[in-house]
Symmetry: C5
């Protein structure tokens, strides 16, 4: 589906194409003089972000976060959608498989109102909007991290925490890498000849997003390590309880076992005070062990 | 075995050589004016990818994934095959020890159909095809990773998982390194003077493959760590069960041991209600321990 | 709130603006010819440090440590405050949301006393002062690290240590990253054309702070690892105690159990010296195990 | 000991010096116009590889693997020997403390046969030969790694494995670093002005060796981690066996203990079927625990 | 305290200043035309190494290892002392708080003997000597590492090892970082215009020291990891002993417990051969378990 988005009083054309067939694309390519290689790039759903200068036009592939991604998504294709952009002094063409809402917002705010001054200005707004799509998952992940932090320190014994953290880390890994591949676009748009306050603004945004995702990735790594280590420490505590009980009861049970033997000739068994004496001996054992544990700082 | 692959109406020669002897190679070298050093490189089976400019021709060593590799293969030589390529304005020579099917596909699609315009065009197609050989193992490894992920979270207790992940990581390590060594070829072909839409396409493909293998390597590392840590957590759980049982039964067994002693003078043994009182005392011990565990959140 | 800080005998203006409204900012922007993009940057509370050259003026965003941060703060915004600075040959404008005490100290020491020679000199002093705000948390964190080190080696069994170290590491991570983003400002101020002994001084200070925070981050990482590993080693020790007790008492208790059986025909029970012989056998078991442990170096 | 290795029909001199005294060295230095600083470098046994251009000659320090190194050697000096080389258009001087066999092979193959064309050709052959000395330990280490891999997966319980892997990793660390320091020599010899097919060949060899050692280092690291983690998993298995036995026998032993008590009034003891009923109860306990373990997937 | 170290027949002045007051420093600064910023750097005890070019002179801050550092020292200031150096064609001024012996050795060997040719030659000797101060701690740390290695493999159970390794690693971390900061000095002294055999010598020394400290740091890291892992493996061994004993004795003790029950009707107790039959049954249990352990390779 192809829509013309630029208004009449605009000095340029903006063609927005949703889910085109190969034939539609080739038609557009012929009309605007686009290279077949670009058309083939448009058709690859998993293509990574890039900035490519052709004679007469610039070809950009942008990847933006798509909110339809399910919880365990951890590939570039599952998490993000591709926006292919052809831009020259005269026209801008945006191509995407799924409809992308912000296109219309940009048209309303920048093109209808004549705030657009050139196709490159529209490109700049598109890239900025694309980078802003990473805001929403960042907020969600950050909240999840805070929640996980709280849970980890409460030492809740729930496995979902583990799975959640694992997939969060995978997702962050992919998104960091994607931002890395996006750098080239931001840098080329903000190169000396074409830089202006708006391209620098996009660069600022890029740096902030990269820094935020790096930070969250580090945080997820730290938290995952902490989680495992805290659970190792709990083993430690469990061991200590087991050992304390065993050390107290094994000697006592052994003593009881001794006087449970059925030998005919065991003088202690006949003594008047044999029983209380043995109980006293047991008490002594308990006290000795107690102070030994105290000295070892186990109790 | 040497075959001429270029058709008559081609402006260049394409010599394809399979498993040559040293003598054959030297003959070709003499005929086309190739340097003895290149001939010696052709004869080293484990040579890494490279791009070398000689006067009059370019010498490229490409390594492509070979599907014959067994499961525990983890060296450059076991996983990949070497394609040596000599290319000039007039000729292209491809040399390989094992037959490589895609050569014929390329000949059919590009040379027979006259879509080839120059030996360098054929070179570009060869490199692209070489990079595409990494698609198949990538898909296989990705599926294996998904399978392993599922198994890890199901906490299946099978050792093969471990061995499989170890060799997968080794394999990914080698293939990442190989892609790294391949970068020079892609970069030199796409240098300013010779760059065109097709060489940039190969660069895109390279970036995608590198990113994919990096991503899978990270994923394998995370999964291996997770696997070990989950198994450590299982130890934790085992410990907890052992400790709970021990803490309950050690005091009870000790009490039973006390009244199993054979002292002549043990007043409790003679009491009418000695037995039920002791059973009651045991119940109290159980209840106290139960609430203590509750407070500790162990039960 | 806007204050004029430069004195009459100064050759330039210094406008200090605290917590401005959007309208105030736009008024100032119009008066001094500032670009709308800079005004929008001023309004973003979490903006990272940057240095931007406009025609006619330079725009700097500085982030300084604010002492109001609570203990578990671990984001750029929670730990630091933003100082936006516009500087030209004729004027310097400082904009911040919260009042920042050092501004007044700088005015007293450098502007009132006429030690200021230009707005760029004031800028240099501001950046240096901003970097010095990291001194205080560095001293605090360093003391905490020393304290934690002592505690770790005393093997105190307290969980707060863990939480404290985790948040310290997060904080250090954020502050290192912030210093990294600040580098561009320091480097641009100290570029060849404008470098002087004072800008080099700021560079020295930057290097020192970066090095210090890197060092503390490494230290925190080492300490956290050590802490977990020491606690794993304590598990080791606990295990050893448990095993030693079990290995001694299990055979003894078993022997006692044997002679506690009620078989009618058990010749040993009738022997005159059955009881002492069994006690002797137990002593032999103890001695054998003792020497076995000795040889294993467990006792 | 100084030997003249170049034959009469050679256009240059080749002086080979074995284990020289300081005085011998100074004599040679005076005769050939060598700088005192180079002489002092020749005398330092642990000097790292370097390439230094003097007026009139080039000074190279090469380090080659020496097969006399014992198993736990892990320093540059213990693993490798130093070859100091002075080379100009007219002469090449090789200086080493221990005799180095390959010198004579090179003389036989390249100098006697007049395949040498210049001192720089000899230098190139020397560097290539030096890099090839790393082949032998690479093969040995690779075989050891394969052996260790097999042992690790067979879960053999032998400590030498650990010590062997530790020293292997140390050795690989040192050799990787040494190769890193050797890069400068290879790169300077293969610089644009002097590059030819032979210097590029040495560069290829260098890249192969570096890649091989990097790969083996990674492999050793992975294997060491795996080894520790597998041994942690074995603890897991041990724990499970202990826990299963304890959970089965602790309740049973407790029940037996109950009916081993000597209370006068214990009605069960008098029952006709008390004994078989208790045995039946024990069987029920066993069955319940068995199905509980089944559900937990521990059996 | 200020001393003139250059002799009369020297073409330059060498002023050595020990522990100067601020006033002394300002006097010297005025006399030699030094910038106030340098004076302020001289007064900061923790200043990191740097190389700064002023008009008319060069200002260097060198940090050298001071042997007075105690065992747990792990900061730049505790481990090293600062030497500030001002150098021009006419003079060299060395400033330090504590007396530094090597100054006098240099004066004796290079200045008194007229081997000095210029202040920059003296500077070169000073930097070389400063780098050589790292020899002594390197030897000490290397010996300690060898000792620790031996202890780790002897599995000695001593906690000081841990503390020692931790502080050694901290120390190595600081010293590596310091060497990193020193690189700029070495590199600037050895820049193309001023490079000679002596500055290259200092660069060699720098590379050797950096490589040595990197190597020792890696070694300490490996050893620390190994230490913890070996201690985890010991837990493994302890567990195995505990489990073996438990698995043997728990069934035996249970059987003994069965026949220790006091039921009136227990036919086995009345049998003539009840006792030896039960002992036989116990022997069978022992044999079955023994072979089960054998198959599991635990015994
Ligand atoms: Mg990563
Ligand atoms: Mg990444
Ligand atoms: Mg960042
Ligand atoms: Mg990062
Ligand atoms: Mg980071
Ligand atoms: Mg980290
Ligand atoms: Mg963090
Ligand atoms: Mg690698
Ligand atoms: Mg990538
Ligand atoms: Mg990567
Ligand atoms: Mg990772
Ligand atoms: Mg990943
Ligand atoms: Mg890691
Ligand atoms: Mg970081
Ligand atoms: Mg640093
Ligand atoms: Mg660092
Ligand atoms: Mg570290
Ligand atoms: Mg540190
Ligand atoms: Mg390393
Ligand atoms: Mg290294
Ligand atoms: Mg490599
Ligand atoms: Mg590597
Ligand atoms: Mg690795
Ligand atoms: Mg590997
Ligand atoms: Mg470090
Ligand atoms: Mg460092
Ligand atoms: Mg190094
Ligand atoms: Mg290193
Ligand atoms: Mg390491
Ligand atoms: Mg090492
Ligand atoms: Mg680690």
């Amino acid at each position: 589906m192809t829509t013309e988005l630029a208004t009449d009083n605009c000095s340029f054309e903006w063609l927005d194409v949703t889910d085109p067939t190969k034939e539609e694309l080739q038609g557009i390519a012929q009309q605007y003089g686009l290279h077949p290689a670009s058309v083939s790039d448009c058709l690859q759903p998993g293509h990574l972000p890039k900035y490519e200068q052709f004679t007469g036009y610039t070809f950009i592939i942008l990847r933006v976060y798509m909110t339809t991604a399910h919880d365990e998504a951890d590939t570039v294709q599952a998490l993000t959608g591709k926006i292919a952009i052809f831009v020259s002094e005269r026209f801008i063409i945006t191509i995407h498989r799924k409809p992308w809402e912000p296109i219309h917002t940009i048209q309303q705010t920048y093109v209808h109102t004549n705030r657009c001054t050139s196709p490159f200005h529209v490109l700049n707004v598109l890239v900025r909007t694309g980078l802003h799509t990473f805001d929403e998952p960042a907020v969600a992940i950050d909240e999840q991290l805070d929640l996980y932090e709280k849970k980890v320190f409460l030492t809740v014994r729930k496995e979902p925490l583990l799975k959640g953290l694992y997939f969060m880390k995978q997702k962050l890994e992919v998104m960091r890498r994607l931002l890395l591949h996006t750098y080239d676009i931001v840098d080329k748009m903000d190169r000396e000849e074409t830089a202006n306050a708006y391209t620098r603004d996009v660069r600022d945004l890029y740096i902030k997003q990269k820094s935020l995702y790096d930070s969250m990735y580090e945080n997820a790594t730290h938290l995952l390590n902490l989680y495992f280590n805290i659970s190792a420490q709990r083993t430690n505590e469990t061991m200590r309880v087991l050992t304390i009980f065993s050390v107290f009861f094994m000697p006592l049970t052994f003593i009881a076992g001794i006087y449970g033997m059925n030998f005919r000739y065991m003088p202690e068994l006949e003594w008047r005070h044999g029983y209380p004496v043995v109980l006293g001996a047991m008490a002594v054992v308990v006290i000795v062990i107690f102070f030994w544990f105290r000295r070892k700082r186990w109790m």
